[in-house]
């Protein structure tokens, strides 16, 4: 059953802003290990906020999806990623396409854009988390930016996973989450996709002796 405590909404807003902060931190980090840690933190925040929303709204299935988040995004994926980069020796992402200050500025613009875009949805929403839809969209855009500006395969994948975090957060803030079947399907796709990526890392390194994607630029229109 729904609970309404006065502290719930402010703490959800706090968690949302932490999520945004981590997205910016990810844009500025160059060490892959740090990125993975940040990604795990993002997962932990998602877990907490989903539990809170579940508690306050009384929707039980949110606890299940929170548990799924905890297992997948806080424990399993970061652990596998750590193992992967140790085995592949891909600890640094020195190659940036755009320098960090510029990326940050672009990121700021994206955040403003995201808030503008989310305005009509927030006005319509009846959930207690409606103010955070803009943040969710901003997290998606920032992750997208990270994927564009980085060259290492591992970093792009972390960007991809961070984008999925943003999507998940958007679903919880706008609608208290999608139906459980769909959540499970999405999680399954994510897991399989991640598994395929793992295979890919080894194939790419076998062929190129490196995980730098600048090698992957042979196929171009002449």
């Amino acid at each position: 059953m729904p609970h309404s405590h006065h502290w719930i909404v402010p703490s959800l807003n706090l968690l949302a802003s932490l999520l945004l902060l981590i997205s910016f931190a990810m844009l500025s980090r160059r060490r892959t290990q740090r990125l993975i840690t940040l990604f795990a933190w993002q997962g932990a925040i998602l877990f907490t906020s989903t539990c809170l929303v579940g508690y306050s709204s009384g929707h039980k299935e949110l606890y299940y999806s929170a548990a799924l988040t905890l297992m997948l995004k806080v424990i399993a994926l970061p652990w596998i990623l750590h193992r992967l980069i140790q085995r592949l020796g891909a600890q640094w992402d020195s190659e940036l396409l755009v320098n960090i200050p510029t990326t940050m500025l672009v990121g700021l613009v994206l955040v403003i854009f995201a808030f503008g875009l989310a305005q009509p949805i927030s006005l319509m929403a009846t959930t207690i988390t409606r103010n955070t839809i803009g943040i969710a969209l901003a997290v998606i855009f920032l992750a997208f930016l990270m994927m564009i500006t980085r060259r290492k395969a591992v970093t792009q994948v972390i960007g991809f996973l961070a984008m999925e975090n943003g999507l998940f957060f958007a679903a919880t803030s706008a609608t208290y989450g999608m139906p459980m079947v769909i959540e499970l399907g999405i999680a399954l796709d994510l897991l399989v996709g991640f598994f395929i990526l793992g295979i890919f890392f080894f194939q790419i390194r076998e062929q190129f002796d490196s995980l730098d994607l600048s090698h992957l630029e042979a196929l171009k229109e002449e």
Binding site: I140, F160, E164, A171, T175, I196, F200, Q203, F208, L219
Partner: protein, 483 residues
């Protein structure tokens, strides 16, 4: 019941082939499972034609004339491609490009891919549609990189990342759709993502949210359709993957992705009550047709050439759906059918042509008609068909699209004509020397299975000359559904 069989057979096939895919009989098993699926799909078609649309299994699956026609097409091309792949993959194995282990992966993933497409087509749940589209991508990623060459790895990576980002946009669109629907349909009973329910209340859905959702859905699924400027993955994936995979990507996956876009368009158009979604489809479609046609000039690789031709044709189909109305929709459905059949048959011949010449570079492929008349003439006839020469079916559908565009949106006609003209000149100029030049290359070790090529072309020819009444009625019913 038929629905479960259509969905279950590919999954069973994937499982069996994961176990036995490395054996000699794997190719036959693959073709056999595809044939069984085709039979099940035929029963489904008969049932829908006789009793009208079907809604089963707690309303999670929905079949009407629109998707049942795509199910039939998918099952048919899936079966003929399995037939083609038997000698083709055997030759690849003999030449040492593939090991039995890789063939096991290939056969198993092929069935899984078919299963994912059937799920995407048959489901009534917009969330499940997303899951199935993503599954279809994932099952083909490892197929694109099957040869493990540098170029194929790059192509697969690009495919994975671009389609992954695209499909993430589509997920956000789906979330927005659910958000709008939840206000009308409520959370209970899980009806807020079911297309039939959404369609019934589409007039009450909040237009601003649905408009925003459509932008995300169009960009997301549009990436998989290969609409410009999101088409970058498509030529690489087609050129570097094994030819049967190129054939099913071009002939089937693009159609299924477009199907998802059209389902969304019906909802959004009903909600915002304006032509905006249609106009967006028209713009994207026209741009893709023109971009695809102009890129044809610069291609040297035979599979890349026809991949760009797919972009052009998907653009034309999207454009026609954008115009809307019974005639344009009818033409779009017809074009979907004939493009799928013709393009897969072209990939069959192009695959054998590059095996004969030991290269995919068009400069190296010469005199096919002399070495193997079936390959040479198959390629020539297929190219003529795809270029819209009468009396092939592509001519009929392009003619319909062009005349409708002239009547309703005259400003688009020059663009369409330029795209068609440029494509004609580019492809004909390149195919002609490949078929009729001089060459001394020996014929292939295994005789190629070109029966599928001529069956496809015969159907396309028949549809161009005479369309059976029942089929025309069927297409008309589907066109009415799309509105």
């Amino acid at each position: 019941m038929e629905i479960l069989i259509v969905l279950g057979l590919p999954l069973l096939g994937a499982l069996l082939l994961a176990l036995f895919g490395a054996r000699r009989f794997a190719a036959e098993l693959n073709a056999g499972m595809s044939f069984a699926t085709l039979v099940a799909a035929a029963f489904l078609v008969l049932r829908v034609l006789r009793h009208g649309s079907l809604l089963t299994l707690h309303e999670q699956f929905f079949v009407d004339s629109f998707n049942v026609f795509l199910v039939a097409l998918t099952a048919f091309v899936g079966f003929t491609t399995a037939l083609f792949s038997r000698p083709y993959m055997r030759i690849e194995e003999q030449r040492g490009r593939l090991s039995p282990q890789r063939l096991r992966l290939y056969h198993s993933m092929y069935q899984l891919f078919m299963g994912a497409m059937f799920l995407a087509l048959l489901t009534n749940n917009m969330g499940l549609l997303w899951v199935a589209m993503e599954a279809a991508t994932l099952s083909t990623v490892l197929l694109v990189s099957l040869y493990r060459t540098r170029a194929s790895l790059e192509a697969a990576w690009k495919y994975f990342i671009l389609c992954g980002v695209g499909i993430a946009q589509a997920l956000f669109g789906t979330i927005l759709l659910y958000f709008a629907a939840e206000h009308v349909l409520g959370r209970d009973g899980m009806t807020a993502l079911l297309w039939t329910h959404l369609n019934a209340v589409k007039g009450q859905l909040e237009p601003r949210v649905l408009g925003l959702a459509f932008v995300f859905l169009l960009v997301g699924y549009g990436t998989k359709v290969g609409l410009a400027p999101l088409h970058n993955w498509l030529p690489d994936a087609h050129a570097e993957g094994p030819t049967p995979v190129s054939a099913v990507l071009s002939g089937l996956l693009l159609n299924v992705a477009l199907y998802a876009v059209i389902r969304c368009k019906v909802l959004v158009e009903g909600s915002i009550g304006s032509y905006l979604p249609g106009r967006m489809l028209m713009t994207f479609g026209l741009l893709s047709a023109v971009v695809g046609a102009f890129f044809l000039w610069r291609q040297r690789d035979i599979k890349r050439l026809f991949a760009y031709s797919s972009i052009e044709h998907m653009g034309i189909i999207t454009f026609a759906f954008g115009i809307g109305g019974p005639i344009a929709n009818f033409a779009a459905l017809l074009h979907m059918t004939v493009h799928s059949l013709t393009k897969s048959s072209i990939f069959f011949t192009a695959g054998h042509a590059s095996q004969t010449a030991h290269t995919q570079q068009m400069d190296g492929i010469r005199g096919l008609a002399g070495i193997s008349p079936t390959i040479g003439w198959g390629l020539m006839l297929g190219s003529l068909a795809i270029l819209g020469m009468p009396p092939f079916g592509v001519f009929a559908s392009e003619f319909l699209i062009l005349t409708t565009a002239m009547r309703e949106h005259p400003w688009t006609t020059p663009f369409l004509l330029v795209a068609l003209g440029v494509a004609f000149a580019a492809i004909f100029r390149k195919v002609q020397p490949m078929v009729f030049g001089e060459s001394d290359a020996p014929p292939l070790a295994h005789s190629p299975a070109l029966v599928p090529v001529f069956i496809h072309l015969a159907i396309v020819l028949t549809l161009g000359i005479y369309m059976p009444f029942a089929m025309a009625e069927w297409f008309r019913a589907a066109a009415r559904l799309i509105g």
